[in-house]
Amino acid sequence: MGQSFPLLNLAEKALLLETYHPDFRLAEKREIPVGPNKGGLAPKELVDLLESPSRLVPEAIDLTEVGYKTDVLIIGSGGAGVTAALTARETGAEVLLATKLRLGDSNTIMAEGGIAAATLPDDSPVIHYVDTMVGGRGKNTPELVDALVNDAPFIVEWLTSLGVNFDRLPDGSYYAHMPAGHSRRRSHSVKDLTGLEFMRVLCDEVRNRQIDVLEFSPAVELLLDDQGQCAGAVLFDFDTEQYFPVEAKATILATGGMGRLHPQGFPTSNHYGATADGLIMAYRAGAPLLYIDFVQYHPTGVAWPEQMLGLLVSEAVRAQGAQVVSADGEIFVDRLETRDALSAAIIRECGERGKGVLTPTGMVGIWLDTPLIDLMGGEGTFMRRFAGIHGRFKKYGIDPIHEPILIYPTQHYQNGGIRVNINGETDIPNLYAAGEVAGGVHGHNRLGANSLVDIFVFGRRSGTHAAQKVGGVEIGKWSLEHVRAYNTSLMEAAIASEISSPMLLPDYRYERALSTVQHTKGR
């Protein structure tokens, strides 16, 4: 208690990352063989999908039978998607919200920690800007970060007006904590259920506004017209297994990240549907990807119990005082290092230094000293802040109030994505991307609490812009010609893939359900 470990200086941090962070294992990346990023590197699991032909056989679908026509088609119903839908509707457009699983199924719903916004008196968008840029290793797109930090406090106001129960102090001011890499307290939370509360409220609002929602209808390819504009998408009905086109004057991709590809065999904290579908569709249509080879591994994924493998323990747990401790009981890194550095330090400790703890299923983990939270903050602190986390562990006979828990880095976030501008526009006319599927705002490494704000800022910006634009959009004759052309380019590059994409859902059937077998390979 009260012990600390010095923060790494920048040179030490750079060396630690280069030596131990999974992003720097070049053998785990491959060149993308075709398309706008040809020759660029990406995680090999993603390249496997990028170099596979479409699961949609263009000749096998009748495009003359249009399923739906709308102004704005939104694909994906996490935080970015529902926000874009609400905003586009508010701006006056006709909206169709299509989603792979149920309305709201997303990584957003799982977000525990909070939403970053410079609202407190000692904070400012300037400090938020600098923190975000430094956290992203200076690679962030400055215009996007400018939009992020200045819109952020307005997002807090918007969510509050919709009825989100943010944690408050007695005077009504917002309670905020300081996740790693931030220089001020600015992460606004709703206990450890922040994303759940947001999605409950936003999905309720979608229903109140009676926005048309197509559930269990993943998009499989975009449609392009003869001018190269996006003209909607082909959706797949999961129940009837039929494909059908949706014509739209603007299309917003909000499909989230790639965690369920399990880059480098890591477990993931991501939702079942996080299979990079949006990246694949947009890339085939010609949209360049930015920083797609940078993947965030959250340092505190659960290593034990096995049933919770890869699930997240919120960063707020460290902000509240929990230390990261080796098998010998030693602190080997500051608990508030950024996610990339802390993950690298844990991988070093468990690997080369041999100071990890072996679990009964052969995983190696490191201690997260959660009892410190009540010791430092007073009895009851853990339950007030982290009742959800406590409940999930309690089911397996582990009491994090009184005993430390075992953690190991877990795939958490796709730092890069489809290149966008401050309106969420991609390089393809009338195609937008918002949230985790888009890239640039977080540079090479996202700071904690910055994704919950990203999804709303760019969900709103793309929804507004798309709705304002559709009045002047004329869609030409559309087709799947680009899919055919992409398939041809794969053949010309002599690539023979045994799979097709997008993946839609990971396959965990039979022996693959035993995740210890699956996820520990390749470590």
Partner: protein, 240 residues
């Protein structure tokens, strides 16, 4: 191939018997049995409510409820997933629904049909005191509803089982939204910050930083880090 150490147990998925390794969650056991889940699977982390499952254990009369991703299988469990519940949701504009009991009753008049039978609480996979928050809703104790329903994952099981035909989880959602919008005090500090941004107070400095070199950025970062204070303040025990 399965590792030798695994012990197999029998479970019944919608009446059909499967042998699955001991220790798997219901979700993984179904996948092991060969189910490719489209409905009935979501976050896989216990917060989205997609995978709520009813089960009986052989030889017992009790009907149990659990999230498939959080509940470990036991021998001779009879499982049925309930991936969708037709629940009633009132349509309203949050801007015009003030936080008072007459609005709750106007939108959900059936609330008063509650029999206080406690089936809802017994059906809740999150083990929430559902009947407690329904009772609080009846007497318009909004704060109590917020407190008791905050961990609701909206699976709809309470609505499926309620003999009075309430959809308790949607009633709680309405009340939480009323409370968040109207009862929690407004923050004057947030309003000040929004005005500062509207007035462009930070624009010039950020414009400058957009062109700043790495050294300057790092310098500013160090300066901010040096004055950062404590990572977390303690949340007060009392309500705001």
């Amino acid at each position: 191939m399965l590792p030798d150490i695994i012990t197999m147990i029998p479970i019944y998925i919608m009446g059909r018997k499967y042998e699955v390794p001991q220790g798997l969650t219901i979700l993984k056991a179904m996948e092991f049995a060969g189910y490719e889940l489209r409905r009935g699977c979501g976050c896989r982390g216990g917060v989205c409510g997609a995978c709520v499952t009813m089960y009986r254990k052989r030889g017992t009369y009790q009907l149990n409820v659990g999230l498939a991703c959080q509940t470990v299988t036991e021998p001779d469990m009879y499982l049925m997933q309930l991936p969708f519940v037709p629940a009633h949701k009132a349509i309203y504009a949050i801007k015009s629904v003030l936080a008072n009991d007459s609005n709750i009753i106007k939108l959900y008049p059936e609330l008063m049909r509650c029999l206080q039978c406690n089936t809802c609480s017994k059906s809740c996979p999150m083990e929430l005191d559902v009947m407690g928050y329904v009772a609080a809703a009846m007497r318009a104790d909004l704060e109590k509803v917020v407190e008791l329903s905050m961990e609701c994952v909206m699976c709809g099981m309470c609505a499926a089982r309620c003999p009075a035909e309430l959809s308790p989880f949607n009633i709680a959602l309405l009340i939480r939204r009323m409370y968040g919008r109207y009862v929690l005090p407004a923050s004057p500090q947030l309003e000040r910050r929004l005005n500062e941004i509207r007035e462009g107070k930070f624009a010039e400095e950020i414009e400058h930083l957009k062109k700043a070199d790495e050294a300057e950025m790092i310098e500013r970062f160090k300066e901010f880090q040096a004055t950062k204070g404590e990572a977390a303040v303690e949340l007060t025990k009392g309500k705001p």
